[in-house]
């Protein structure tokens, strides 16, 4: 009797939380296809929000900036993190201990502190110009690189070292052995690391605010400013943006799950 009650209770939480997580996004998606400016208003079907989203110059430029920034940061972090993981794997324990320690810092640190401290170092202390975007890219890279490292390193531990030796014995030079034997075995970790870096930089607000040039906006900084301004046309265009992202995420998840069920969870 008690068991049954517990199961019903847990299941209730389970489904209520699913509704809690998806209801706002779905309702907004529904209203994004109407001409309503508030939820609950009587409405007619309209694609105006989508037209605004892809024509209004401040909106299109902030979307492009967000994507370009995320790509640049993720590529740099993936290269640095992968080189770091591989080189630390082949180094002594002292190096490994040091890197294990420093890697934890951006992971556990509050983003506000990471962003503010890099801003203090580069912009206040080194007097670097924000307008160059260099502080922004460096700060986000600082956040993302340890995550790449942490997703590549476990793959190296799973790797069979004798394969690398075998490649050398069979006449490969070290470079060939590295690219043809080591890299393919850790590619899953590299891809996961890259995706984590993309997600982190797309989602970031704090690090971006503290290091970005004044006129530069990403989705996060734009949305936060827009909610203060409350210009209706922009507000409802952001509903359309949230819907586009939601559909894209679902498509991505379905696509990768068809490809390989296990990869995405690891």
């Amino acid at each position: 009797m008690v068991n049954k009650k517990n199961t019903i209770f847990s299941n209730l939480i389970f489904w209520l939380v699913i509704i809690f997580l998806y209801f706002p996004v779905l309702i907004l998606a529904f209203y994004s296809f109407t001409d309503a400016s508030m939820l609950g208003q009587s409405k007619h079907f309209s694609l105006d929000n989508y037209v605004t989203l892809f024509t209004e110059s401040t909106l299109t430029s902030m979307m492009v900036s967000t994507l370009v920034l995320a790509m640049v940061v993720s590529v740099i972090s993936t290269l640095l993190g992968t080189v770091g993981a591989v080189s630390v794997y082949y180094s002594g324990n002292k190096v490994k201990g040091f890197v294990d320690f420093t890697n934890q810092i951006p992971v556990v640190n509050a983003d506000v502190v990471t962003g503010f401290s890099v801003c203090i170092l580069l912009i206040v202390f080194c007097k670097m110009d924000k307008a160059t975007c260099i502080p922004l890219v460096l700060a986000l890279t600082t956040l993302c690189t340890p995550f790449v490292y942490l997703s590549v390193y476990p793959r190296l531990l799973q790797m069979d070292d004798s394969l690398f030796e075998a490649a050398l014995d069979l006449g490969c030079n070290k470079k060939q052995a590295f690219f043809k034997v080591v890299i393919p075995q850790i590619s899953g970790g590299i891809i996961n690391g890259f995706l984590t870096a993309v997600t982190l930089s797309l989602d970031d607000y704090f690090i971006t605010t503290y290091t970005k040039p004044a006129s530069f906006d990403t989705i996060s900084t734009y949305v936060v400013n827009a909610t203060r301004g409350a210009q209706t046309e922009i507000k409802t265009a952001l509903w359309a943006l949230s819907t586009v992202i939601f559909l894209f995420v679902i498509a991505f998840v379905v696509f990768t799950n068809m490809g390989d069920r296990h990869e995405i969870l690891e």
Binding site: N3, T7, S10, I13, F14, V17, L21, F23, P24, V25, I27, L28, M38, L39, V83, V86, S87, V88, Y89, Y90, S91, G92, V95, V99, T102, Q104, I105, P106, V108, A110, D111, V112, V113, F116, S117, I120, F125, L138, T141, T142, T145, D161, F164, E165, F178, F206, T209, I219, S220, V223, V224, T227, R228, L238, W239, I245, V249, F252, N257, I264
Partner: protein, 259 residues
Amino acid sequence: MNNKNTLSTYYVLPYIIFSVLFILLPLFVVLYYGFTDRTGHLSLANFIHFFTNSRTIGTFFYSVVIAFLTTLFCLLLAYPIAYILAKGVYRGRHSFLLVFVLPMWINFTLRVTALKEILTYFEGNIAMHPFFNTIICMVYDFLPFMILPIFNSIVKLDDSLIEAGYDLGATKFQTFVKVIIPLTIPGIVSGVTMVFLPAMTNYVVLDMVYNSTYIMGSLIGSYFSSYDWNNGSIISAVLLIVIGLMTIISNHLINNKKW
């Protein structure tokens, strides 16, 4: 074994240089600014100001309360969900886990905007229930970060230990409290660390639903806007101390698995 050294150790330099320059150095610079005054002289004024000014110290305790409640509600919701996903009817069906993880990939400001619209619809004026709305939005934002680590630790839990609990006469409740909870402490601890700190500092959620109040993050934000690097740094330094303490406590809890 000597093969480990076949790639020259000098490849490790870029990563070491990166770690020193961009991870360690900024923290030292923040400490330096936190403990000096505007003219660059060593001073404890900022530090003392933080603990004696009612606004800053009040903000600190207020953040702790917000973070504590957010973490508590996330934990209460996440545990049953993680348990069902790992051991219940959805066991082994990883697509259900994805249902809970997927919202993490939508930009958090857009998600909070969506929830804010819903709350506005139901409450009329959301300024009437600022505290309640803040907690709801924070839980909405951070819940997936609590589910994932708890799920990972429940999945690893050996079923035979639970069965042993029953066989030895424990009730369902006793088994849960004395077997399942202690064995999933590492997951709970890492979930708590992933939620507590962001909840103490994520002032954007608060800004969007609750325009008037401050948490620790907003202090840094306001000192940043007024170019007050020294006081901004001392807030960062205080947060670093909190983070350091939490890391030490959580490492201790995770490594001491024998209860």
